[in-house]
Subunit: 133 residues, 2 copies
């Protein structure tokens, strides 16, 4: 869903503010009106509305207005896309660590094999841990 | 690990930039030097260094210098903390949807039970879907 860089920019930017995270937290328990979202925050209604706009522009929430009440709810798929982006990078890194463990466990290891992070290991170096699949 | 709001602010802010995400992506395959990180990006070395500083300040990466080379690597626990923050909110929301499904499946439902997001449902309303555990 969030395959475009600009979308992820907006989602992570939206999550980088503590007031907006309080709002997402509240909305994860169910839909809420804008004034309900603002209640735990010591900020003006105008500021609450701005935060709601940032969240809506990011796709993390959607809103709809009935009479004078604007109700907000979580857009689960967007939350999941941001989570997946992080999870995929973390998983790659963990697989690398696993391969390092296998490599060190399976060989005596050359004397110059330092710990992870001991030196630059670029995609073009002859890295025994390089993804081969 | 990231129990303080300011930490999550910094992590999500760091991830809100496409160049920094390219760097995290590269680092998820293994440690890299600053110049290696900058290679796929059409930006100055000064700009690369600034991005590295933002990433390091967020805790997402750590760096160490050997001679003239600064090597960067992922700080997996911080990546995981950001992922967990999102996952917990998403899970709460999904549990709510599950309860809604159970509720609608188990009863004929009162006439005024609208679809999810049809009206403000605050923590103080008499919400049949409220977490009871």
């Amino acid at each position: 869903m969030l395959d475009q860089a600009a979308d992820l920019d907006r989602v992570f930017h939206a999550l980088a503010d503590p007031s907006r995270r309080v709002m997402v937290e509240r909305l994860s328990a169910g839909p809420a009106s804008v004034s309900e979202l603002g209640r735990p925050l010591e900020i003006s209604l105008a500021a609450v509305l701005q935060h709601v706009q940032v969240l809506e522009a990011s796709g993390l929430i959607r809103t709809h207005k009935t009479g004078r009440t604007r109700t907000c709810s979580i857009e689960q798929a967007v939350l999941r896309s941001a989570e997946s982006w992080i999870a995929e990078r973390r998983t790659l890194w963990e697989r690398r660590l696993d391969r390092l463990g296998d490599y060190l466990g399976g060989t005596a290891g050359p004397a110059d094999t330092g710990p992870v992070g001991a030196g630059p290991v670029g995609p073009h170096t002859n890295d025994p841990l390089k993804e081969t699949r």
